[in-house]
Structures are given as C-alpha cells and as structure tokens.
C-alpha cells in the first residue's frame, strides 16, 4: 500500500462538509497533481475534528499544522507553499481570540490540548471509510482478545470494574446492564446502539459515528458475545445521512472481513448488525419508545418495569459513546479507565459546545473537569469578551447552571445535584444576551412539540407550562404564574410515564431557581432585562453617542430609522419590528434597548 510523506487530514464531519470540505479536497488533489505531488502527499477525509467553529479545518501530519476556515481558493497556495516548499501558510493558521500571533501546531492550541480522547481516540487520525486504517490503530484487537481468550463473566467483570456508565444520559452501570441480560434465559437476544440523538445543539453521537464507526461496531460485537446476542441494530436518525452512509459502509467492510456474520474470527460465534433509520422523533431516544419503533409500532414509551424487551426478548441498549468506549477498556484495562474521572463517574465524556461560545465544537474531557475549564480554557470563552450567564447541560430537558456554579466538577451526581443532568452531552452556553424566560419557553416549545401524547401529565402539562411562559414573555404574566409553574413542574416530574416527561420541567424549574428575578421583572415590571422579549422592549438611539453614520438606517429592513448624515438618528416606533439589526450594525453603542 502506498504511503505518503505528508497526510492532509481534512475534516469530513457534517459541519465542514456543509462548508465545502469535499470541494476543498478536489481542489487540493487537483493542485497536488499539477505539482506532481500526488504520490507524496495524500488528502484523507476524516471524521469530525471537533473544532467546528473554525471549519472547514485540516491537520497536516506529521507536522501537526492546523489550518482553519479553508476555502477552495486556498488550495493552490497551500500546495505550493507548504507541500512543495515546506512553509506553512500563516494566513490560514488559527489565532486564539486573546492572542496576536497565530499558533501553527494543533497540540499547542488550548482547544485541543486540554482534551482527553478515549471514545474519539481515532478522530482525525483515520479515514473512517477504510477498515484497515481502524485496524492499523489497534482496531478489532479487543474483539480478538475477547473471542479467543476471555469468558463472558471476565468481560463483564472488566467492564464493571472500569466503572463505565451509560453515556446516553441516565448513567446506568454498563456492566450491570449486560450481566442482567446475560442471565436472562430467553433467546434470541438483541443488541441495540442508540444513535437517535435528538437534542437541539447536540452532535456527539453523529460525530463519533462519522469519525470512527468501527469503534461502535466493535463495542457492539463484544457486547453481543458477552450476553449471547445474535442480532444487532444501529438505530440512527435519517437526518444524519453522512453518519448513516459511513456506518453502512463500515458494516459491509466488517462483514467482508468476517467480523460480522457467521463464525466470526473462526470462533463459531455468529452476530450481525443492521441499520434502522428513525424518522427523527425526539421520543425515540427513550429506550422503550425506541424498541417500539424497531418493532414497527408507534414509538410510544411503555411502563417500566418489566424490563425493556425487543419482540419480547432480552435486549441490551447502549448509546453510541458507551459502545465506542468498550474496545478501549478491553485493550487498556479497567484499572486504566477507572483511574480517569471522579469517585462515581469514570473515564471521559464527549460534549458538544454550542451557543454563545468562541470555540463551538466537539470536545472529549475527563470526568471531573470543571465547567469553567470547559467553557473558558477549551471553549475559549464568550465572543467579544461578554459576560458568561449560564450553561444548559443535558439537552432541552436538562437544566441551567449559573455563573456562580462554574467551578462545579462535571460528573453524573454533581450535575443532578445542581438541578441539571449529564444527559447525552449537549452544552448550550448563554451570555447576557440570552433571556432565561425566553430560553425556557424555547425548550418547552420543543418538548411540547415532541411529547408523544401518550400520558396526560406530559402532553397537557407541557402545553400548560408553555402557555404560561408565552404569556410571561408577552408581558401578560400574572404574579401567581411562578407558583403555578413550580406546582405543575413537580406534578409532571412525578406523574409522567417516561424520561421525556419526567425531565421536561427541568429547564423551567432550574431557571426559576437561579434566575427568578428575570421572571419577576417580566411579570411585575413588564421588562425583559436581556432585551430579548419583543413585547417588552423598545429600541431607541442615544443622541449623544450617535455619529449619524447612517449604518443603522441602511440596514433597517423596515426603513424605520431616519436622520441626516452626521446628525443623530431616530427610530419610528410604529414601523420598528424590534429585529435588532440596528443594534448589531451600530459601531458606537448608540442603539439602546429598554
């Protein structure tokens, strides 16, 4: 096999692909050919590199040079300067927000250096569409070890000792789950990988599948051997076309090598995997609804206990990230894995950073790291140095954590104690620009929409909470509304059938706990302190600060701003739709929101 002196690891995750990564690949290859470098320099499409905010990105190996914000037109320059003449292109290097000069090496960039990769151990290092590259980095070694030299009990012991807990959010100990299914006498047994990631702003599972599908497959085969399962499903939403494509390809390649199918590795063990594409309903991420969907029925949750089954037979359902951790634990041992993390939460966790944050992207960090380290050291803080207000963890049904708790170590128990949860790992960062009432309203709107409607507390309760929140945002809140929200929240939490309903009041209850003053300002003073809720704000121009540059007037879609050049402008309140365009356009902070 041909090997290159230089490998351009070009990010082929969904984010970079939608910004033209494939076009950049073609352009680079065209230019390499022009300089007769096509046999010396290879362009490899990897999975998500993680630094999505700066995409499309590429890392040049072995020099570790990190290029960002690439465009098709940059290809000629990079090839001639860097790949031919060996001089990295300065203009395309990354400069951290607080610094002046660019940082060429990936390992010197704070975003990367603070991360610890286990589930994402192969991200950016391999072409996920080549099984040999996965094997080249010790892929399927754990499976070979398990099938040829370990008993089921030993594997379970190892996984239990490692302290691995479900990465889908609930944090159930993986070893214990496997043991209960192993002991179940009913057959056949099933393995399911839950890749139905539905949280707004979350893309951990998608990125793992796109970057390293074989790590998930290997984990599933090991799980299947342990419990004695013969059939597996990857339940993945159809909104993830690239992840579906790479998973399908990986399954085919694994079959060709005999790693799936009959007589795996010649050991007599049979197991195969199929992909099941979900239609993108949030509730399908809930275990019992997910199995209903696979069974071909309406995806409604079921009462538990009894334990979840698939066609009445035992099934192990774990999340993408959980499965991806398993081969690493077998290869490096429970002791190693459990040495990372906190007392109750071992290993690492993948988070997606979104919202008001400089380095939006995908990060994997050791459990126990503080929120401050994630938001500031890795995430690079809030754009324009704005003040941090809160972070929503655990997806839409998680909760907000305020600035006063930034030093909270991230693990399952600590997040629960703070009124939020680990969830699958979405983190939405908010600055003073976010209105906490509006944020709660947004999440409730999503959850009300996604509520399957089977049980009354969730169906009706979410609707009622949403109506109250809408009323408050409109400036029509009543003093008793806050008590009603709390009472409703408690009732929904207690009485709902599944996890969706039980966690649904979290965004409201946690923001009420930490930001009650904002709710009260909406209700009592008819004011939105963050300047977000349109019914409660007006835009005016500060005559002292306005230089009459006309920028706001030119940008206003309603032509509501008038005034001569170099004279202070005014906003016609009848025409103003409160879109905030003038606020963003003004360079002199002359637009006031009150």
């Amino acid at each position: 096999m041909k090997s290159y002196r230089t490998n351009v690891m070009l990010c082929g995750g969904t984010g970079c692909v939608s910004n033209g990564a494939f076009k950049i690949k073609d352009a680079l290859e065209r230019e390499l050919k022009k300089h007769n470098l096509e046999n010396e320099v290879g362009v490899i499409m990897t999975g998500c590199n993680g630094f999505c905010a700066q995409g499309p990105v590429a890392v040049v190996k072995p020099d570790e040079i990190f290029y960002q914000l690439l465009k098709e037109e940059d290809a000629a320059h990079i090839v001639e300067e860097h790949f031919l003449k060996g001089r990295p292109v300065k203009e395309l290097l990354y400069t951290p927000p607080a610094e002046k000069s660019p940082v060429p090496k990936m390992s010197d960039i704070g975003f990367f250096s603070k991360q610890r990769l286990i589930a994402l151990r192969n991200r950016g290092m391999i072409d996920p569409e080549q099984i040999d590259e996965y094997i080249g980095r010790d892929g399927y070694k754990a499976l070979a070890k398990v099938l040829t030299s370990m008993k089921s009990e030993e594997v379970i012991q190892e996984v239990s000792d490692s302290g691995l807990r479900g990465r889908g959010g609930a944090g159930f100990p993986t070893g214990r789950k496997w043991e209960s299914r192993r002991k179940d006498p009913r057959t056949p047994k099933y393995i399911v990988c839950n890749a139905d990631e539905g949280d707004p702003g979350a893309f951990m599972d998608r990125s793992i599948v796109e970057a390293d599908p074989h790590s998930v497959i290997e984990g599933m085969i090991i799980g299947a051997y342990v419990v004695g399962a013969s059939k597996g499903y990857v339940y993945i939403r159809m909104e993830y076309p690239l992840a579906v494509k790479r998973m399908r390809l990986a399954i085919e390649q694994a079959r060709e090598y005999g790693l799936l199918g009959e007589d795996i590795f010649g050991t007599g063990f049979d197991f195969d995997i199929d992909i099941f594409q979900g239609a993108g309903a949030f509730v399908c991420g809930e275990t019992t609804a997910l199995v209903s969907s696979i069974e071909g029925r309406i995806p409604e949750p079921r009462q538990r206990p009894p334990r979840t089954t698939l066609w009445g037979k035992p099934v192990v359902i774990n999340n993408v990230e959980t499965w991806a951790n398993v081969p690493a634990i077998i290869n490096r041992g429970a002791k190693w894995f459990s040495s990372i993390g906190t007392e109750t939460s071992k290993g690492t966790k993948v988070f997606s950073l979104a919202g008001d944050i400089n380095n939006a992207g995908l990060v994997e960090v050791p459990m126990g790291i503080t929120l401050r380290e994630i938001v500031f050291d890795i995430g690079g803080g809030i754009p324009k140095g704005m003040e941090f207000k809160a972070v929503q963890t655990g997806g839409p049904s998680g909760g907000v954590i305020p600035a006063s708790q930034l030093d909270l170590p991230v693990d399952y128990e600590q997040l629960n104690a703070a009124g939020s949860m680990m969830g699958s790992g979405g983190m939405i960062i908010m600055s003073r620009k976010s209105c906490m009432v509006d944020v709660a309203r947004y999440f409730l709107e999503f959850l009300n929409d996604e509520s399957c409607g089977k049980c009354t507390p969730c169906r009706e309760g979410s609707g009622e909470m949403l109506r109250i929140l809408e009323r408050i945002c409109q400036g029509e809140g009543r003093p008793e509304d806050l008590d009603t929200l709390e009472e409703l929240g408690e009732a929904i939490r207690e009485a709902s059938l599944c996890g969706l309903g039980q966690s649904l009041p979290n965004p409201v209850l946690s923001s009420l706990e930490h930001f009650r003053d904002e709710y009260e300002a909406h209700i009592n003073d008819k004011k939105c302190p963050a300047g977000v809720c349109k019914a409660l704000i007006t835009f005016t121009i500060d005559k002292e600060k306005c230089k009459g540059c006309r920028l706001c007037a030119k940008n206003c879609p309603q032509e509501a701003i008038s005034g001569e050049a170099k004279e202070p402008h005014t906003i016609d309140q009848d025409k103003c739709i409160k879109c905030g365009v003038c606020l963003d356009a003004c360079k002199f902070d002359a637009v006031l929101v009150a």
């Binding site: 007769n36 010396e40 072995p62 570790e64 003449k85 060996g86 001089r87 080249g136 090598y257 005999g258």
Partner: protein, 127 residues
C-alpha cells in the same frame, strides 16, 4: 482479502504501520529536503523522489520525510537535513541521487554520519 483470523490483524497492522506512524509523527528519524526556489532549481525534487522510493522499497515505517524552505545556503543546494531522535541534526549539501542513497543507508538506517557530504552538525540558534 476475505475473512480474517485474529492473527491476520497483526499483518494488517504491519501493512498500515507506515501510514499510521507518519500521521502520529512519532518517528525514529526525520529527513528534511530543503525546497526553496533555489533548492527546487538545483534538483531537490529528484532528491525527494529518491528518498520516497527508498522508503517504499525497503518498507521503512519509522522515518518521516518532509520539506522545508530555503536553508540560507543557496549555493550548496540541494540540501538535506537528517535528524535522528535524540541527536543533533546534520546538514548535507550538494546532494545528488547517489549521495542520497548512501546517506540513507549509512546515516538514516545505520546511524553513522556521512562526514564527507556533511556541512555541519547542529542548527542555527533561533531567537
């Protein structure tokens, strides 16, 4: 390749070792061909392809071959810098195909500096 056995994994790993090691940058030796305009004009491309062929032919998986700009001594191009892990870099000047081959086997593979082609040992001080 059809169905594989556990022992086949090792064969695939060996086959992939060079590709993977090159990306990890964790190599025993690092060879830099100076590719400024002067170097290219003096024939540095030929030196590069000779090195690439040698690496390929002998199945070497722990040597990084890379490029850099002009080293500042344009009259002695093409130039080559060989750096073995833990040792000072050695600069070779006036390179041609045959010299490259002997440096490859003597210095890069066997670890002995080829003094007659070497200009200096070490690098300039930076900063």
């Amino acid at each position: 390749m059809g169905k594989i056995r556990p022992e086949d994994l090792e064969k695939i790993r060996e086959r992939m070792a060079r590709t993977i090691n090159m990306r990890e940058g964790d190599a025993r030796a690092r060879v830099t061909v100076h590719m400024g305009t002067c170097g290219i004009a003096a024939g540095a491309r030929k030196i590069m392809s000779t090195l690439m062929d040698l690496v390929e032919e002998r199945g070497i998986d722990d040597v990084v071959v890379t490029t850099s700009g002009c080293a500042g001594l344009c009259s002695r191009e093409p130039m080559l810098t060989v750096e073995l892990k833990g040792e000072a870099p050695v600069k070779y000047v006036d390179m041609d195909e045959d010299k490259t081959k002997s440096i490859f086997s003597e210095h890069i593979i066997s670890g002995k500096v080829v003094k007659e082609y070497a200009l200096a040992i070490g690098s300039e001080r930076v900063g």
